[in-house]
């Protein structure tokens, strides 16, 4: 019950926050030089045609009116049309957002699988070889540009060894995609029992997930290491040690107490990667949401960018809400 009121109180602020974010995006994008009408009709458009299109798009009204119209449409879940794809933004994003989410989620799972164990072992044994490796890994992986690291992986695993499919999109053109249920190709192909698609999609996912996973393991590793170290030195750990509990048990209790900060860094990374994965998306021609938004900005295509910002803002709000609920679940003091 307490949790429900907490969620309710959180949700009150969501609306104004979203309007603020949309307003700033809208104003920022309106400042971008470039007339959508000219871009849509091309260089041979007549003045008459341009004027008609501007009226149709509402471009001849004042900025305030335009924003009002936009907000009204957003309330009816109409995010407008992208003039590049000539499709409604909602259906474009419905296609692209799951692609980004699948990529980011799997990458962060991999990053967790690498970063947490290394951090825990490194914190328990400060002079061990694992600790040395963890320190070097944290520094080195933090310095790698992800888009370049993706290229290196392509060069080694595709060009030289040829063990992965060509880094173009999520599926080979010859493979029949599974029917769209969740948007995640892996889950959808399992649901429909489409095994060739599953294998192919997994092959396409391998390199981008490795790229983002290996690099983002670094912040998770550093966070786990430093928090774990602090928890192992905390009074409760010393007390447990003094009482003669085996080191394994002490470490398990310390780990449980370090979980909140690990979850925090994962949620921050998740929010960042929704848009931050765009460079890797471009390298692998992923067709994700970030790529869609960047194309929009570069071509004065307003609606996709607004749609993307709205979606990712909502998503990060949802993520932070989930994280807070997880805190409730793992930390009895907050209940």
């Amino acid at each position: 019950m307490q949790i429900l009121t907490y969620i309710g109180r959180r949700l009150i602020f969501v609306g104004p926050q979203l309007v603020g974010i949309l307003l700033v995006t809208f104003l920022l994008l309106k400042l971008i030089p470039g007339d959508p009408a000219v871009m849509m009709l091309g260089p041979f458009a007549t003045d008459d045609g341009l004027a008609r299109l501007r009226t149709e798009l509402g471009l001849d009204r004042s900025i305030v009116e335009q924003f009002g119209i936009y907000l009204w449409r957003v309330l009816h879940w109409d995010l407008g049309t992208s003039w590049q794809t000539t499709m409604p933004v909602t259906s474009d994003l419905a296609q692209r957002f799951p692609a980004t989410l699948e990529l980011v989620t799997l990458s962060l799972l991999l990053a967790l699988a690498i970063g947490m164990p290394l951090g825990v072992v490194g914190a328990r044994n400060r002079n061990g070889i694992v600790r040395k490796f963890a320190d070097i890994y944290g520094l080195a992986a933090g310095a790698l540009p992800d888009f370049w690291f993706g290229l290196v992986l392509i060069f080694i695993l595709y060009t030289i060894l040829g063990v992965v499919p060509a880094p173009l999109g999520r599926l080979d053109f010859t493979i029949i995609p599974p029917p769209d249920v969740t948007g995640s190709l892996l889950i959808d192909s399992v649901i429909s029992g489409n095994w060739p698609a599953l294998r192919n999609a997994a092959g396409h996912l391998l390199l981008p997930v490795l790229t983002l996973g290996l690099i983002n393991a670094a912040p998770i590793l550093k966070m786990t290491l430093s928090t774990m170290e602090r928890m192992l030195e905390a009074d409760f750990s010393r007390y447990a040690e003094m009482c003669g509990l085996p080191p394994k048990v002490v470490a398990r209790k310390a780990l449980r107490n370090s979980l909140p900060s690990v979850i925090t860094i994962v949620s921050v990374l998740y929010g960042f990667l929704i848009g931050g994965a765009v460079l890797v998306e471009i390298v692998f021609s992923w067709g994700g949401a970030g790529q869609y938004a960047v194309q929009g900005v570069l071509n004065a295509d307003l609606n996709p960018v607004l749609g993307f910002v709205l979606y990712s803002a909502i998503l990060s709000l949802v993520i932070y809400l989930i994280v807070d609920l997880i805190y409730f679940a793992i930390d009895p003091r907050t209940r």
Partner: protein, 329 residues
């Protein structure tokens, strides 16, 4: 770790220590830190090397970084093209050395601008947050604006800033500054919130110093330390952002030697096995960021009185052991 021969300097230092005034600052302390933490020395070495390369690029580079030789495209690394040539016949090595001129300038300028703007705004927000009237509204407005900027996907926001201002060096600097400013803003605000309750600030207030005077003379100087520590950590990330923007095509434009755009130009060639136009600039980029993050972690240690003291203690005990060993021998 290298063993230094025992010289007059070490004896002098140990004499200092016995006299109870071991220096925890100055050159000799800095050098001792580099000796006990070789990774810091590596970081400073890399940064100095990159800066020197950038300064002396015209003397070192064997070819013009903007002048292509169309007859020699996609040459393998070797002689005279140390790192090969790209698809248009530009010498990769010359361009890799010229690139930090652009990348470092943008990253440094962007970081400095964001640190200045961010910490001034943060100081105002922190100082006026608990006061009444107009100041409080301004403080609230600053914080909410920073919330909104931080809610944006970083790259999309940076690209939008560049798109609004037009593609030029200044607008990339501004984009980098915009994206980074909230970090400094929050750091400074939290510092100021604690500093402004201290006695000397209250004393200055009672003495009749104006708000501006208190902020500029008493609050900001005493809240700067974490901002300075963040600065060097942030430069690496700014270089990465600059390169990323150029990689997408929203940053530095093509013939200008810049790591990100070089990686983008060599992107098509990697599939056909010509790895050098992309791999070398990326290595240089990674090495530079690595260097700056090592320098950053050293500054973090040195700017934190507690960790600095611990390090000084470590150095001292090492010296004691060393002098003991020489005394025995």
């Amino acid at each position: 770790m290298t063993r230094q021969p025992q010289g007059a300097g070490a004896l002098q230092v140990s004499a200092d220590r016995e006299a109870g005034n071991a220096p925890a600052s100055g050159w000799s302390f800095f050098l001792a830190v580099l000796r006990t933490r070789p990774q810091f020395a590596l970081g400073y070495g890399i940064v100095v090397l990159i800066v020197l390369l950038a300064i002396f690029a015209p003397l070192i580079a064997p070819f013009d970084p903007r002048q292509a030789n169309p007859a020699a495209f996609l040459q393998k690394p070797g002689w005279p093209y140390l790192m090969g040539t790209d698809a248009t016949g530009l010498d990769v090595f010359s361009r890799v050395i010229y690139a930090p001129r652009i990348d470092l300038t943008i990253a440094l300028a962007g970081t400095v601008v964001s640190a200045l703007a961010g910490s001034i705004l943060g100081a105002i927000a922190g100082y006026y947050e608990t006061k009444r009237g107009l100041g409080r509204m301004v403080a609230g407005f600053i914080m909410r604006s920073s919330d909104v900027v931080q809610a944006f996907p970083v790259f999309v926001f940076a690209i939008a800033v560049v798109a609004v201002l037009g593609q030029s060096l200044q607008s990339i600097v501004l984009a980098v500054a915009f994206v980074n400013a909230p970090i400094y803003l929050r750091l400074m605000r939290s510092q100021v919130l604690s500093v402004r309750r201290l006695r000397y600030v209250e004393a200055a207030y009672i003495a009749g110093t104006s708000d501006l005077g208190i902020l500029a003379r008493h609050v900001i100087p005493n809240a700067m330390a974490p901002v300075l520590a963040q600065l060097s950590v942030n430069i690496g990330w700014s270089i990465l952002l600059t390169a990323g923007l150029s990689f997408i095509g929203a940053g530095v434009e093509a013939p200008t030697p810049e790591w990100g755009s070089m990686i983008a130009m060599g992107y098509q060639n990697i599939i056909t096995g010509h790895w050098w136009p992309s791999i070398f600039p990326g290595l240089a980029l990674a090495l530079t960021i690595f260097g700056f993050s090592l320098v950053g972690s050293s500054v973090e240690v040195l700017a934190d009185p507690v960790r600095r003291g611990r390090l000084a203690g470590e150095i001292r005990s090492k010296r004691v052991r060393k002098t003991a060993a020489t005394a025995r021998a």
